[in-house]
Symmetry: C2
Subunit: 334 residues, 2 copies
């Protein structure tokens, strides 16, 4: 039902509209691309495309602009992933190379993505649940409060204060620390809950209440409270694309961690770049934006996701290229 030329026309419309931000008409199409047919023919094709819901005209007798569905077809069948220029690759490498720690990696990644794509970059912190415990440290704050510091093998550090039911002495802390590290070191965080359940037996009875408090905080921190943060950058790029009045909505959505998590979280296996276009987004307020995202992580498993967010009128091939490349490099670094 859609022959090759119609697809070519759709592709051309998307490309032109993305670069000019103006409805594109039959005449300018035949000029700019070398379709060797007449404008009238194109018009017929466009009529069909419109009927199928891939393009619309903002008002009678204006050019056509792609619908969300049109973009969808475009990314699915009409365009590939545009690889980065070698200059860009080098830029990525040098930019990410000097990172100190995990925080720094994430921050640099956000900036990098934002600059590269001129869109809003969104990077999720590597998930806790898929990494393993490297070390647990207990530091006394007062005689009834401890600071619990938990270090994972992805280099992430979690900290929480623990309020104890009773006083605790130095030697008790030392003992507790030893037990914790002996039992939890190297364990996948996902397994920690079950291991912790067996721990109380290993502690002397008198210390059990305090130990229990610590254990429950550990479980809470690691398992229940998936405090997986999302970092946003490049919000300034939103002002270029004209969201008319929707900008406010978009900015608001970007400040809600929960919303961002929902946005990024869904679907998409590792190493595939997924695109979510306009109304496909569940998130209210981001209905006129598109998300290009992928997973990243060490080896074959995906630790978290990152991507860019922009107006539906976005250069998808380039964005996909940048997202994929950055995800790979970040994976390498971790």
């Amino acid at each position: 039902m859609l022959d090759d030329r119609k697809l070519a026309v759709l592709r051309a419309i998307v490309e032109d509209f993305v670069s000019t931000n103006e409805p594109v008409g039959s005449k300018s199409l035949v000029d700019r691309h070398n379709l060797d047919v007449s404008p009238a023919t194109i018009r017929n094709d466009m009529a069909v495309l419109e009927e199928q819901g891939f393009i619309v005209q903002p008002h009678t007798s204006a050019g056509r602009i792609p619908t969300d569905q049109g973009y969808r077809l475009f990314v699915d069948r009409l365009s590939g992933v545009k690889p980065l220029s070698s200059a860009e690759r080098r830029a990525i490498e040098t930019f990410l190379a000097g990172a100190y720690d995990l925080d720094d990696v994430v921050m640099r990644t956000v900036r990098l993505l934002a600059q590269l794509t001129r869109q809003v970059a969104v990077v999720q912190y590597p998930s806790l649940t898929k990494s393993a415990v490297r070390h647990i440290e207990l530091v006394p704050l007062t005689d009834r409060r401890l600071l619990l510091v938990l270090i994972t093998d992805t280099g992430r550090v979690e900290q929480r204060t623990v309020d104890l039911p009773g006083q605790i002495g130095d030697e008790a802390i030392t003992q507790l620390r030893a037990v914790l590290n002996a039992c939890l070191d190297g364990r996948k965080l996902a397994d920690v809950a079950t291991v912790v359940a067996e721990l109380p037996e290993r502690v002397t009875a008198v210390e059990r209440p305090n130990a229990a408090a610590v254990f429950s905080v550990i479980v809470e921190t690691l398992v229940d409270r998936h405090e997986e943060r999302v970092v946003v950058g490049g919000a300034a790029n939103l002002t270029q694309a004209d969201f008319s009045r929707g900008l406010h909505e978009v900015l608001e959505a970007l400040e809600e961690q929960v919303v961002l998590m929902r946005l990024l979280g869904e679907s998409g296996d590792h190493a595939t770049v997924t695109v979510r276009i306009g109304s496909e987004n569940e998130v209210r307020g981001l209905r006129s934006t598109s998300l290009v995202a992928t997973g990243y992580g060490t080896g074959d498993q995906s630790l978290a996701r990152l991507g860019v967010l922009g107006p539906t009128r976005m250069d998808y091939p380039t964005a996909m290229g940048a997202v994929r490349a950055v995800a790979r490099y970040v994976g390498q670094i971790l």
Copy 2:
């Protein structure tokens, strides 16, 4: 040169303009405030105020709007700090009460300030240099890499990886850890550099290269690299105020940590709310915004600063009230 009535007129102009966002004319002034003089009199006063540079008219025969200098006079002499309603006070308390750790406190504070003032909130992390070392932890990652975790008495946790010149064994790590904690525990971070300089003597000669690497990272982390982060929130509120095209500039400035530091950092002793209006801001791109900021911290010393940023057309008394109140509560919590 400026009698009482002229000042009253300026105050009225500021208040009206802030609430309506429209140039205010002589007629509406006498209506809305009960100045019992005629519009003509007001016009004379306004002429004087304009000559002195406190107000301008956007174009001939429009009402007047305050200049930066006008706002300055307003905050300095014509308005106080508006205390919060008791409902707002309660809101602050309950909102900040449930905070887990330092990160959480900072994040909640940002949200709170943004919601309270309907402006952009800016909160600086408590400065490292003024707090003391609580604990230092070394965790082996590989045989040539350590993770250094440093805990301060304000509950802040700093982490850095250290690349060692040579291999290191478990017992060497233990020794090093003991030395570090023995010597640095409780020291003000500002003093750490001098203490560290004396440390190498306490380590066996064979371990000195590795130890030196660790020491230099410590100094770097704590002293040289004042990586004092600033967290921004409520950027969506910027869209309400019409920055015409300057919005882009403002958003860009808000993403530059360095710029924010410069903005917040200057001047202002603890517990005073300082206001920086429009062109008084050094920062290019924030010339049409105002900052209301103050220090916060435990006891009498200021650990860091927080504030709100908005258009110069801002409700200063309320903003100042909110900033002051939030700063106090946060100080209490720490």
